[in-house]
Each structure stands twice: as C-alpha cells, then as structure tokens.
Symmetry: C2
Subunit: 208 residues, 2 copies
C-alpha cells in the first residue's frame, strides 16, 4: 500500500450484482469506494451497502455520494458532496463522524470547501474524459495552483490514465479518483493494481 489515496467511483451504469462483485475484488487496493448512483433511491443505496457488507467489503472504505442519511445509518467512512448537496458546514456540524469530501472545479471552490470544513476535495476533470464530453479539461496547472493553496487533501479526478499518475502526484495531489477507467475496464482488478503500483512507485521515490 501507499500513502497516496486511490478512490474508485461507481458510474451509475452497472448492474448492482456486477458492482458488488467488482468492489469485493478490488477493495483491498483502495482508499475509498464511492457509491455514486444518482438514479437510485435511498432504499436501493442502503441495500447495495448491505450487500457489500455481507461480502465483507469494509464499511470504512465506503463513501456515499450526496445521501448523507444513508451514510449515517450505515456508518460508512463518509459522504461526498456536490453543488446540489447539503452545505458542507451543515453536514460536518450534524454528522461529525463522517469524512466529508466535496467536488470542486476551481481554486475558489476549493478554498470555500476548505473554509466550510471539508476533509478533502476532488478536483477535475484534469484530463479529457468521456464522462464530460466537449468540456475542456482543467489541467495540471490549475491542480498545481490548488494543491499549493489548500491544506486539505486534493484528489485529482477526470480522465486519469495510469500513465498520468506521476504527473498528477507531481502537481501535488494527495491521490487520484477513477470511474470508468477501473469499473468499466475489461479487468478491473488488473487496472486497480496498475494504478496502485504507480502510486506506490511515487512513494518509494521511483520517479523522484
């Protein structure tokens, strides 16, 4: 393992059975498994976490997007908030045991998230990605500005291929988050190991 974070986000496009199987297989290599299933009801997300628990996926690795209530009752690691979610400071005040992350897209948003008490931010998208077609990536330069400006961990996201990991970490990121690049890969476990080895390499000074 390594001290850089590796997050995987679900895509909302996979059947529950497939998602559970994959999470069961890859969790040992990950910091956080994000359940980001915007079309699912609270009950469906709750049941998904229940299934993960029965498969011995550690609750301490599970992060639930937006539904703070489900995160609370399932006692998972935390919740990840977006602009349409509850305000960070409200969530930190009322759910102090949850690790609260927040998606940001600019320096201003990153500073605001930090001021409101976010435990970390994800910043992106850094590279071109099929998840955001036609939207220009924000790039490594802005990532560097943000990592130099905030004290909380910054996780890079968006189109990060294994070959990009070194540059993202060198821009000061504390880790990376990957969606389809892992979960929709032909062999998710192999891809997780591939990303992970690049993060480990960094720690061991391979590219230093």
């Amino acid at each position: 393992m390594n001290n850089k974070e590796l997050h995987v986000l679900s895509t909302g496009r996979q059947p529950v059975e497939r998602l559970v199987e994959t999470f069961e297989e890859i969790h040992p290599y990950l910091t956080a498994l994000h359940i980001r299933e915007k079309e699912k009801t609270a009950r469906e997300i709750y049941q998904l976490v229940e299934q993960l628990r029965t498969k011995n996926v550690p609750l301490s690795k599970i992060v639930i997007n937006d539904r703070v209530d489900v995160a609370q009752v399932m006692r998972v690691q935390g919740t990840h908030l977006a602009y349409h979610s509850l305000p960070i400071d409200q969530v930190k005040e009322h759910f102090p045991q949850l690790r609260v992350g927040c998606s940001v897209h600019s320096l201003e948003e990153a500073l605001r998230a930090q001021a409101q008490g976010a435990d970390y931010v994800t910043f992106g998208h850094i590279f071109e990605t099929q998840s955001k077609p036609g939207v220009n990536p924000r790039g490594l330069e802005q990532l560097r500005t943000i990592t130099a400006s905030v004290t909380i961990p910054v996780i890079g996201i968006g189109g990060i291929q294994p070959s990009h990991v070194q540059s993202v970490v060198e821009a000061g990121a504390d880790g990376i988050a990957v969606m389809s690049g892992i979960l929709e890969a032909e062999n998710p476990l192999e891809m997780v190991k591939e990303y992970n080895s690049r993060l480990v390499d960094r720690k061991e000074g391979f590219h230093a």
Copy 2:
C-alpha cells in the same frame, strides 16, 4: 384548533415562491406542512426550508419527504418515508428526535410500519384522486380496519374533499392529509379553513 391532524403535502408542481407564500399563509391552521418535492435536490430542499424559516413558518410544523438528512440539519418536525426511502427502524435509531411518518397502502404495511417504530402512518388513497388516475381507491372500509388494528395515529389521504372529512374521522382516522385540494385550490387559505372547520366540528361533537 382541534385534536385531529391536518397535513398538507406539496405537489412538486408549484414554483418555490408560490409554495413559500402559501405555506406562510396557511401554517397556523395545520399540524404539518410536508415538503414532498421529489425532483428537487438536497440543496434545493434545504434552501426552501431556509426560506420558510425566514418567513417565520415554524420548523416544528415542517416535514420533509424522504430526505432524512435535510430534516436532520434543519431540525424540522420530522420526515416522511415511502417504500423507496430508508427503513423506518434505521431512521428511528439514528435520528431519534425526528417524528417519522410512513405511507402505507394496506393493513399489512400499516402493521409493519408500526412494528418498525413509525410515529404515524398515512393511509390511502381513500377516495378517487387525480394524483392516482386509474387506480381504485382503497376506501373507508379498509381505513376502518387499519385504524382498529394499529395504535399509532392513522392519517387518511387521497381525494379527501371537505365533505368527506366526517366519514374519514368516523372511520377512526386521527387526521387527514391533502395535496392539490389545498395547494392548487384557487384560495388555499379558504380551503384550509374549510377542512379545519370540519375537523373542529368533529371534536366538538357536531356530528357525533
């Protein structure tokens, strides 16, 4: 006022400004104002409650549908759960200060909700309603069975016109819930007073 409950549910179809204005006007006559805005994000519901608070609508009268987290951070009266929501027992365990209601559609569901700790149930729809076109109403007979079988309050819902109030209360209901019949009325305040007077009449034995 009276000891039978009068709930109003938002329809999800009205602009926020209109909803806030109407709630501001009618809340003195109501037990509970349900924010039932399924298409709205957590942030939008949060902001709606904030607006209601600035208009001095008591938080103790506000009930938030499904989003237990928003109910928790806003310290409102409670939350109302449906089948797609978190399980009642989980919500009661982790959010003990919220009054938790639940929509039920059969005796079996009512008994289960009670066993799981629901503070009350809404049962319906009792009469034909435009909210459930083509679905046969469940009627007063089933309402009577349910009110005779559970000890928690049962609130009748679905197509209840002022002229129906007496029959619903005589079937053992502890109150009624109304959606479009109040909020989409030409004069919501007048309609609330109309419903309310029928409930008051009951208490005073007018129809006894």
